[in-house]
Amino acid sequence: MADTPVEYIKHHLQNLTYGKLEAGYERFDGTVVSETGWTFARTAQEASDMGFMAIHVDTLGWSIAMGVLFLGLFRFVATRVTTGVPGALQNLVEITVEFIENLVKDGFHARNPLIAPLALTIFVWILLMNVLKLIPVDYIPTIAHAMGLEYFKIVPTTDPNATFGMSIGVFLLIIFYSLKVKGVTGFAKELGMQPFNHWALIPVNLVLEILVLIVKPISLALRLFGNMYAGEVVFILIALLPLWAQWTLNVPWAIFHILVIPLQAFIFTMLTIVYLASAHEEH
C-alpha cells in the first residue's frame, strides 16, 4: 500500500492492467524487458506505456461477473417461471422486467423486439456494476494485494473503457437502425437536410447533425463514468480520514449513492431507449 495520501488515491484509481511491453522497455525496478511480451503492469507509468494493447483485468472481470450474475439469475427464474403465484425471486425479476417494459412502451413506439431486452440488460448490468461501489474501497484491493496483485479497482463503471464500451454498442445500434429504417438515402437526408432545409446549408447541417450523432455515445458514457468516478474519488478521500471519523461522512455518502446508483443506471437505459426511438422515427 502507498504511503502518502496522493499515492493512496492514485493507487486506488489505477486498474489492474495486463498488457504488452516492447522489448527494451525499462521497468519500474530498473530491469529491461528482453523480449516483447504480455505482463501485469507494476506501476501506473507502465500501464500507460502499454498503450492500447492492454486489458484492464479487473474492469473486464468484474463487469463480466456482474453480467453473468444478472443473466444467470434471470435465466434461472426464466426456466422456472410460473404463471401462478410467483415466488419472491420471480416477483423481483418480474418487477424489473415490467418496469423496463413500461419504459420502452412509453418511450419507444416502433416495433422492435430487441429494444426491451437491450434496455433490461443495460439497466440491470449497470445497476449491478454500480452497486459494487458500496463495498468499502479498501476491502477488495487489500485481498487482491494479499494475492500479489498490485492494483485492483472493482467498480467497472468508474473505468471509461467500460462505459464507452457499452455506449459504442448503443451507437452502433443507432447507426444500424437508422440505416435499416430510413435507408441510406433517408439517413443521409436526415443528416444533410436538417435543421435547415436548404441545399446551400447542407455542409452546416452535416456538421451539426454528425456532431449531434457523435455526442450521443459520448454523453452516455461520460455521464455514467463521471458520476461513478467522482463518487469513487470521494469515497477514497473519506477513507483517508481517521478511522473513528470516517462513518460521519461515509454513511451519508453511501446513502446518497443508494440514490445515485439506480439513477445512473436508469438514465443510461432511458437515453438508450430515446436514442433508438429517434433512430426509428421517420422525419
Binding site: 502499454m50 473486464l60 418480474e94 422486467v97 431486452p117 464507452f164
Partner: protein
Amino acid sequence: MNINLTLIGQSIAFAIFVWFCVKYVWPPITAAMQARQKKIADGLSAADRASLDLELAQEKAAQQMHQAKEDAAALIDQANKRAAQIVESSKDDARKEGEKLIEQARAEIQQERVQARDALRTEVALLAIAGAEKILETSVDAKAHSEMLDKLAAQL
C-alpha cells in the same frame, strides 16, 4: 484511465449479454407475465359472469318460490272448498237419512196404530156382539149380521 483493449472487450461482452437476454431471458418471462395477466382477466370476467348468474338464479328462485306459494294457496283454497262441500253434502245426506228414518218410523207407528185400532175394533165388535148376545140371550147369526157389524166396526 487509459483507453485500451478493455473497450473492445467490454463491447463484445455487452453484445453477448444482450444477445443472451434477447434469446433466453426476455421471452419466457414476458410470456409468463402475459399468460398470468390473461389468467387474471379470465378469472375476473368469470367472477363477473358468476355473480350475474347468481343474480339470475336468485331471481328465478324467488319467482319459483312465489309460484309455489300461489299454488299452495290455491290448493288449500280448493281443499277448503272441497271439505266444505263434503261437510255440506254429508249434512244433507244425514238430514235426508234422518227424515227418511222419521218417515219410516212414522209410517210404522201409523201402521201399528191402524193395526191396533183394527184389533181393538174387532175386539170391541166381538165384545159388543158378546154383550148383545148376552143381552138378547140369543145367538146372533153372525153371518146375517156381519154386514151390520162391519159397518159398526168401521164407525168405531
